[in-house]
């Protein structure tokens, strides 16, 4: 109480002035942004800019997106995207940090659409954020592309979507693809183990992988699965536990720094001399392992992204431009972000709109479309034309003379790794992949 009474008058004045100015400016900013001239197309880009997922995923994705947006505005992309802008409009990108959990992302999504008046939203790495934002996007009738999140529940929970699209594959495709790669390249493997981060992504991945293994390699035995905390960083106990079970294959859906630390520690402790690691998101470490992963380690890139990009004009341009600007070849999150921006350009250019295309026009143009991308031709063939179908690729890591490369790459077509419409993904696997064609 004493401090309150002893406070001098100038302090009070300063304080109340500062508070009023702060509140008033907040109000003015709110009003200022509502008046917005429509000579450009404004897109909100939401990705992790802070926290554990920002380094391996969020920042590369943001860099990839920015690169493509700049090229679109200058008209320097290869065909068929060589026109300037989207539907002739300059593309303006507003970035938002994805950190903070689904409730906050719902709030920020509403702020993007209603306060910042964006015409479309692209983003979301976290599955929880996708699940939370999906229904809000439908409610607010705003064209939205999820570029990375991997939950197979997205379009199961979002019945009859109109405005929400996903241009990346789900985690089911990752793990069915992984099982198929093992069945093809390591048919004699008998002892399979796993290590997953203890949260939805890890649990879902392991479930899908083991279900698929039961179908594809029924002889193989699942000997162990470790579930360390996310961002744990030190995996000594788990590695020892895995070693005692003498696995031949260690499946892991760990990502980013966790995945890289695990590989480095497992390699040093000799686990990777006795077993081959199968890393479903390992591609993001392709240019970072620097030989810390043994040759032959199996890497996935969540589809034809990053080091798995096929050779075409767009991917060559993207790889070259990205490496020039950031000094390293693009990893899969960067390519996936680029793909989502290209999907937006495709939708806008084909919307037949006069001026700024509406969300309805964009959605109509992208629904069920086939568009060219850095990953080849993307077919929006699932979930009523809202979910991309693409091949899933796996390959082996090889490091020689300071150069990392992928060898023995196998590609499985979209129909081979993704459940057709009307199927729950897990049911589809359990029934033995009905309707899949893997040729």
């Amino acid at each position: 109480m004493k401090t309150t009474q002893q406070r001098t008058i100038w302090q009070k004045t300063l304080l109340s002035t500062a508070t009023s100015v702060a509140l008033a400016s907040a109000g003015v900013m709110g009003l200022a942004t509502t008046a917005h001239a429509q000579d450009s197309f404004k897109v909100g880009f939401v990705t992790f800019l802070s926290g554990g997922a920002s380094g391996p995923f969020g920042v590369p994705a943001s860099q990839g997106a920015k690169l493509v947006v700049e090229a679109i505005n200058e008209g320097t992309l290869p065909a068929p995207y060589d026109s300037v802008g989207v539907n002739g409009l300059q593309l303006e990108m507003v970035e938002v940090d994805e950190a903070g959990g689904p409730t906050k992302q719902v709030e920020e999504y509403r702020n993007l659409v209603q306060r910042q008046n964006v015409n479309a939203v692209i983003g979301y790495i976290s599955s929880g954020d996708c699940l939370a934002v999906g229904p809000v996007a439908e409610e607010m009738q705003t064209f939205t592309i999820a570029f990375d999140c991997g939950t197979s529940r997205m379009f199961e929970e979002l019945e009859d979507p109109k405005y929400v699209f996903r241009t990346g594959l789900d985690a089911v495709a990752d793990n069915v693809g992984a099982a198929r790669y093992l069945a093809e390249t390591r048919p004699d493997a008998k002892r399979i183990a796993g290590i997953q981060q203890n949260y939805a992504w890890g649990q879902d991945s392991w479930q899908d992988f083991t279900l698929a293994m039961e179908q594809l390699m029924p002889e193989a035995e699942i000997v162990n699965n470790q579930t360390p905390q996310i961002f744990q960083g030190s995996y000594g106990t788990e590695i020892s536990a895995l070693q005692t079970r003498r696995p031949e294959i260690v499946h892991s859906s760990m990502w980013g720094g966790d995945m890289e630390s695990f590989v480095a520690q497992a390699n040093a402790r000799g686990l990777l001399a006795q077993a081959t690691a199968l890393l479903t998101t390992g591609e993001s470490g392709l240019h970072r392992f620097d030989g810390q992963a043994p040759n032959g380690t199996i890497l996935g890139g969540r589809g034809p992204f990053g080091g798995f990009m096929p050779e075409n004009d767009l991917s060559e341009w993207f790889s070259k431009a990205y490496e020039e600007k950031h000094g390293t070849p693009p990893s899969y999150p960067a390519s996936k972000a680029a793909q989502a921006i290209l999907a937006l350009k495709y939708a806008a250019d084909n919307s037949d709109a006069d001026g700024v295309p509406s969300s309805e026009e964009l959605a109509a143009a992208l629904k069920g479309a086939k568009f060219e991308s850095v990953s080849g031709t993307v077919n929006m063939g699932l979930a009523g034309g809202h979910q991309a179908v693409q091949p899933m690729l796996y390959g082996e890591y090889h490091f020689e003379d300071g150069q990392a490369e992928l060898r023995n790459v196998k590609s499985y077509p979209g129909d081979c790794v993704s459940a057709p419409d009307g199927y729950n993904a897990q049911e589809w696997i359990k029934e033995g992949f009905p309707g899949s064609s893997c040729d």
Binding site: A26, G101, R115, G128, A132, A200, W201, Q203
Partner: protein, 314 residues
């Protein structure tokens, strides 16, 4: 008594004013306001404990229980009525708080803080392990109804705000009286000198227990409102950083008045959302600096701005 009536009248007046102003506000502000009021409710519970000298780093437990009650009640019991869902959350929360309260109200200071945090993290751990409930991804809340209103067809953001304002007003009116009641005053007395309170013939155990359970119930209402407004629940609601945020907002607002937590929650939310907009790569720094400045210059919380003026006038 005169004074109390004035506070009540002004609370009702402010609530009506906010409800009317919301009709002319942009939609995003309506939603932000709903979240701020819901957060304010949970903070209210933290403030109640603070008045008794206890700092809870586990109020997220009740926030999460309220949220999951709404989510699970809608999904598995087929309940859509918002008030029934919120009531369900309160019943479940009170049941759990009555058990936990027996243990935690025996502890003080850091021991109370750590114990409350531990229970909240246990719930977090259980939910993360619950694969059927979506683990860390959580799950969506079904469309809800309120009397004649259906969130599927109507303006759900506005309706959620009206519901939040109504509930917050009722709770604020109740707490305003509660703080002045014998049990509310006993809480403050316990903070000052526990032994003396016992000598006066009041059971500190009983007082703290009742206070703890009421704080939990109010936290649950905040969680339920957040779930109804945001349409999604996930285990983060029970994570300790969320509980820490509640404590922070409580300190920001101060314990002087029932309106303080709501004002603090609104300022916190607005500063955060504008910081995110202005500096996507450094918003935490802006938020941190602003909050640090407020704490530095207003050690008794934002509410001290109002009380000081009153003191100067008289």
């Amino acid at each position: 008594m005169m004074k109390a009536d004035r506070t009540e009248l002004s609370l009702i007046g402010v609530a009506i004013a906010v409800a009317i102003a919301a009709q002319f506000s942009p939609n995003w502000l309506v939603f932000t306001l709903t979240l701020a009021i819901s957060t304010g409710l949970v903070v209210m519970g933290v403030v109640m404990l603070m008045r008794a000298g206890l700092v809870s780093f586990g109020q997220g437990l009740f926030y999460c229980l309220g949220g999951y009650a709404v989510g699970l009640g809608g999904r598995f019991l087929g309940i859509t009525d918002a008030l029934v869902l919120i009531g369900l959350g309160v019943v479940a929360t009170v049941a759990i708080a009555m058990i936990l309260g027996l243990l935690v109200t025996r502890y003080r200071e850091i021991f109370f803080a750590m114990l409350s945090l531990a229970f909240s993290m246990i719930l977090y751990g259980i939910l993360v392990k619950s694969h059927g409930l979506g683990s860390t991804d959580g799950f969506g809340v079904v469309d809800w109804t309120l009397l004649w209103f259906d969130s599927k067809t109507g303006d759900s953001a506005n309706m959620a705000l009206m519901l939040a304002i109504a509930l917050a007003l009722l709770i604020a009116l109740f707490l305003n009286r509660y703080f002045k009641s014998s049990i509310g005053l006993a809480c403050e007395a316990i903070r000052e000198n526990e032994v003396r309170v016992e000598y006066m013939g009041i059971s500190r155990q009983q007082t703290l227990y009742i206070n703890y359970v009421i704080a939990a119930a109010i936290g649950s209402v905040g969680g339920s409102m957040t779930a109804l407004a945001a349409g999604h629940v996930d285990p983060t609601m029970a994570y300790w950083t969320i509980s820490g945020e509640f404590v922070f907002i409580a300190i920001l607002g101060g314990t002087g008045h029932v309106a303080a937590p709501f004002i603090a929650a609104l300022i916190f939310t607005l500063v955060r959302t504008y910081a995110i907009e202005l500096a996507p790569n450094a918003w935490q720094m802006i938020l941190g600096i602003v909050l640090l400045l407020i704490i530095l210059f207003l050690p008794k919380g934002i509410w001290s701005l109002f009380t000081r003026k009153k003191g100067a006038a008289s």
